[in-house]
């Protein structure tokens, strides 16, 4: 039964990785930019989650506001930081993104203080027993929320006219434009959705750890980059699978290798090994 518990714990962590990494892979797929500052928006989502819950007592409201506000900020990041340098070589956007990420962490430090913030009355901390499994309500919310959000994204992308326009723009922006699709609006949509999902991940992490701090995005940012490489850059399905796999590997690793390597080291060892064997990613064609 330990294996089952470890798998579920891994899926909880993997869900968080999935919510973060999807936005990153969407941005890469559309613009070929490694959007490092994405993790800064994740952190901001966490702050909104804690601060709004503390102020209003409503976690659902906090999630909603965090997603919408951070989604709009994601559009601004594109408009102000990336759009002006789109015709430059890719490393220019990468450097801008890293700079922005560092700036965001410093701004959070100045605005919210260098120490962590917690919920005054942490919600969803009760433990639920499902068959043999003990799970915190927050962990259940993380998994259910991820399924709902990613499922919603899949329906939007796969079943709606705008979703089809979005996928077409990823395939061939020039042709999409020739058929009247406004590719700038598609980019806004892309950044809104990716950033809103990262914000949701931020709120959930804040819930699971009962803590937000300025640097909480650092490790997820490296891991999410590695995950999207693993999943095949720009490949949403591959990214989701890689995120969940990484969560489960970490979960087992901490039990069986925990004395030699810590959780993050296990994750990176796994990523390095996979990329040595399959540099094109888990599902990419050679």
């Amino acid at each position: 039964m330990l294996a089952f518990e470890l798998t579920v714990q891994g899926l909880v962590q993997g869900s968080i990785y999935a919510l973060i990494a999807v936005g990153l892979t969407l941005v890469y797929g559309l613009l070929r930019i490694l959007h490092v500052a994405h993790a800064g928006l994740f952190t901001l989502g966490g702050y909104f989650g804690v601060l709004i819950t503390n102020a209003t007592g409503s976690l659902p409201l906090a999630i909603l506001v965090a997603m919408v506000v951070v989604g709009v900020l994601g559009i601004l990041v594109y408009r102000l930081c990336y759009q002006p340098i789109l015709d430059q070589p890719p490393y220019v956007a990468l450097i801008a993104s890293i700079g922005l990420f560092i700036a965001m962490e410093e701004i959070y430090r100045l605005v919210f203080g260098p120490f962590g913030i917690s919920y005054t009355d942490a919600p969803l901390t009760d433990t639920v027993t499902l068959a043999t499994l003990n799970l915190k309500q927050g962990e259940i919310l993380t998994m259910v929320g991820t399924v709902v959000l990613i499922g919603g994204l899949a329906v939007f992308a796969g079943r709606t006219r705008m979703g089809a326009a979005w996928r077409a723009t990823v395939t061939d922006p020039a042709m999409a434009e020739s058929f009247g699709i406004d590719v700038i609006k598609v980019r806004y949509l892309n950044f809104f959705i990716g950033s809103a999902l990262a914000a949701a991940a931020g709120v959930l992490v804040a819930l699971l750890n009962n803590l937000v701090e300025p640097t909480m995005g650092s490790v997820p940012s490296y891991k999410a980059l590695a995950i999207i490489v693993l999943g095949g850059l720009g490949d949403v399905r591959g990214t989701l699978i890689a995120a969940l796999a990484l969560g489960v590997i970490e979960s087992f690793g901490t039990i069986y290798l925990g004395t030699i390597l810590d959780r993050d080291a296990i994750a990176f060892a796994f990523l390095i090994i996979v990329l040595m064997i399959r540099p094109q990613g888990l599902f990419g064609r050679a």
């Binding site: 089809a164 077409a168 395939t171 020039a174 042709m175 020739s178 058929f179 009247g180 590719v183």
Partner: protein, 240 residues
Amino acid sequence: MLKLVDLTVGYGAFHATHGIALEVRAGTVFALVGANGAGKSSTIMSIAGHTEVHGGCIEFDGQDITHLPINDRVRRGIALAPEGRRLFADLSVAENLMLGGYARPRAEEAANRDMVLDLFPRLRERLDQRAGTLSGGEQQMLAIGRALMAGPKMLMIDEVSLGLMPKAVDICYAAIARLRERGITVLLVEQSTKRALEAADDVCVLESGRIVWSGTAAAARQDPAVIEAYMGLAGDGAHG
């Protein structure tokens, strides 16, 4: 319908055409022929807004569209079936058609789709299939169908027959004839002059970015050697 005036287009410092002038009359089929590298695609893609214009202007329906944003051109009535088809390969046939009509009111979609499927019944059986898995001929049909979904006044088809089986070429040219009957203007690009001369009202031969012959297709059919000579001069050595 379409007028190119002293049009020079290109890429950075390179000119792909050198001040070409031509006029496509409304309701006719116009063939732009010439050897590989003559500048046919560059010309078509400049009308669609993708290739930079270095000089001259493009008039469509009496208005100067030289610097119009790309996504406004389809709303003015210009639709494109580009070289290499450039379908949305991961999307289904149905989705490709739907996006072809993206600029039109949704209320027109069903009727336009019926019109396209009536023109290319082969696509009807393939609606749920990924566009990338179609045969070459089916892909060309879909590329033309996708463009027709935009309800264009003028349809541009780059390389109608390139790489297609003879049967698929027949289907595409039959469709072009039917579109002409319905009053849709067609600007087509061909390397195979024979088919183009049969289908067209007017013809223009491009060589190294310059127009070296233009006139009616009837005149060209009378004396195909003239055109063949220009094509031959441009060095493709093809017979036909």
